[in-house]
């Protein structure tokens, strides 16, 4: 497990105006999620940010399309065939943390009008600070 702060975990251009700082890398614990609030009135969005065992940081939407509750950051982190995953805390769907894809729907459908998969967010860790980019 990496304890040092990694540098850039997602390749990108230099920090531009779309990156929003949300917390320090040290605020994240291995294999745990936190929720982050990206403000902005109508365009406000809640993001679930996860630090994996190897130090990599991944982010998906915090809103769970199967329950309608904002809870994804509280799910259990693990792997499925090597793919890092989080399990929805309420109805136990398993999502890829890398692609947001629902890998196991546990026999349920998303709520009406909600997508099957989770949106993902780009993550940039720079100078010990975790930045998120809104979905493009």
């Amino acid at each position: 497990m990496t304890t040092e702060t990694p540098s850039i975990t997602t390749t990108t251009d230099d920090i531009g105006p779309t990156w929003e700082p949300v917390c320090r890398y040290d605020d994240l614990r291995p294999e745990c999620g936190v929720a982050a609030y990206l403000g902005g009135g109508e365009s406000a969005v809640q993001v679930a940010v996860f630090r994996l065992a190897d130090g990599e940081v991944l982010a998906v939407q915090h809103h769970d399309p199967y329950s309608g509750a904002n809870v994804v950051a509280r799910g259990i982190v693990g792997t499925r065939g090597g793919e890092p995953t989080v399990a929805g805390p309420i109805y136990k769907q398993v999502f890829s943390l890398r692609t947001g894809e629902c890998l196991a729907a546990s026999g349920r459908s998303p709520r009406p009008g909600e997508p099957t998969d989770l949106a993902t967010f780009d993550v940039l860790v720079r100078d010990g600070v975790v930045h998120l980019a809104r979905a493009r």
Binding site: M1, E20, P21, V22, C23, R24, D27, R29, P30, E31, C32, V34, A35, A36, Y37, G39, A44, Q46, V49, L52, A53, H63, D64, S67, G68, A69, N70, V71, R74, G75, I76, V77, G78, T79, R80, G81, G82, P84, T85, A87, P89, I90, K92, V94, R111, P112, V129
Partner: protein, 682 residues
Amino acid sequence: MGAQIDLGGGEALKRRINDLGIAVRCNSQTTQMRPRRGSQDVARLDFADGGTLPVDVVVVATGITARDDLVRSAGLATGARGGAIVDEGCRTQDPDVWAIGEVACIDGKVVGLVAPGYAMAEVVVDRLLGGDATVPAPDTATKLKLQGVDVASFGDAFGRTEGAVEIVWADPIGGTYKKLVMSDDARTLLGGVFVGDIAPYASLRPMLGRELPGDPGAFLLPEGTGAPALELPDEATVCSCNNVTAGTIRSAVTEHGCTDVESVKSHTTAGTVCGSCLPLVKKLTNTELVRAGVEVSNALCEHFDLSRAQLFDAVRVAELHTFSAIIERFGRVPEDAAGPGRGCDICRPTVASILASQGNGHVLEGEQATLQDTNDALLANIQKDGTYSVVPRIPGGEITPAGLIAIGEVAQDFGLYTKITGGARIDMFGARAEQLPEIWGRLVAHGFESGHAYGKSLRTVKSCVGSTWCRYGVQDSMSMAVLLELRYRGLRSPHKLKIGVSGCARECAEARGKDVGVIATEKGWNLYVGGNGGFTPRHADLLAEDLSDDDLLRAVDRFLMYYIRCADRLQRTAAWVADLEGGIDELRRVVLEDSLGIGADLDAAMARHVDAYEDEWKAVLDDPEKLRRFSSFVNAPAMPDPDLAWADRRGQIRPATPEDHASGTTLLRSPTAARTDLETIR
């Protein structure tokens, strides 16, 4: 019993019952019940043959009869021995009235069994839909459970078919009697009677009306002495409650992808009513799995090839204390991977439970925090909107007026919805994750702990008030309930645990519907185990009688610890006891007679649990690192989730629905949901 077993069976049954210390008199017509002199109490029975019997209590059992008064008052005819007379379509004389089951008299007979009742229900449904189904010849196969005596019969138990031959195995010393009724060529099975040993019943009954392979007598020999293996034909009925055939069970495996008994049960409904066919369902399922080349696996998930019980022992013996070490040592490494992966939502909580059962400190300590299932992760019950409910522990359900007021004030101050739970506790709903520590702090100040109303652990000990107040109570069930709840609180197990304590045999605490049921007797406590409510209710089995307080605690200690060590993941005690090889007798040997020699080990494990118990919620309040988990947003730790909204229901909050949002119905916010400013690190 006269309808089920023949004379030989009756003799064997009588011997069995005599062995239990109960005398049996047949054909004894009672002419008089005589009272004690100068009293209303019964003292003696007089029989027609001149014999007498001194008695204290008379129990009259007359079987089930139809409510004929109801039938007659509707102007319908009843049969000579009761029941509404119906035709072969279950219709009474009134074309708008139907009768099925024990109130229907068809061909002059009323059949008091569940399978014919279901068959008749099917017929009525078909008739109502315009069909012309008729009631089939009733399947009168029965398996009776007397206290400690097995009795079963099926088909033509009396050999009334013309030319029928009977093959009998009788062991008067062992009290077993087994009989097969065969066709005149001794090839086709027509019926059977089993007393004392009903092992052949499950596999033979579906063969009714079919040719048996080989010598029929071989099926009556004691188990393992050479009965030929029976290959059931596809059309043979396995589950007669739900009319499921062997073929349906096989295709559940071969065509519908079922890979274990549980999935076969839910796919076919076999074994979901009386459960007596489950051993056969299991056998068929496993045979089919093996035939399909599927290894019958008890692997936990893709990360561990071990079952929960195997992993429990492995972790204990290897003395491992972290998930990382456990998966490194025992995890499965896929062929194309360098390591075993990082677990999942199945194995992580299982390991969390195993570690907690073996005493590894606070469930949110270090890496353990990442293993906990939804509720254990925040030490409260998550609800559908992502908020939590808090259920203060109220041992035994006993609470002071001041305590009631304190809980009421907490609920009022935080704007929580309150209700009394099925376990006789007070549940407060609508708390946000970031509010939990503050709520716990208030509870701690009033002498409460939050309580494990969640998780795979002891929930509550339900009790009646017992002998201190109740005029019928024979023991102090209230004190025993408090003692048990404080002893086993926080104990992590394969599934949730519920305990009930009743102060007398009236059983007001419904203890026999619990994993552990304690019922007071004049001499002490009767201990029942393996009860369940829920989806498949099961009455608990009697494990021991008239125990002293100390003996009761030791027996419960060992029962719970043995269960925690041996059971599968999410296997309640009911299923565990039912599946246990050797059944309740084996459990009695292990728990009461220490037949495995692990008694002291189990006692020590429970003593460690009791000694190490701490208020897990207070421990969070005392630890800033653990407290950090209880924030809404990492960049705005106290800001309520702005999407949360409530509506009014009978004067309390309920989660707002999409319809509320769409219609713009007034949404309430809980009083303390004052919005704090975004705290960003920018």
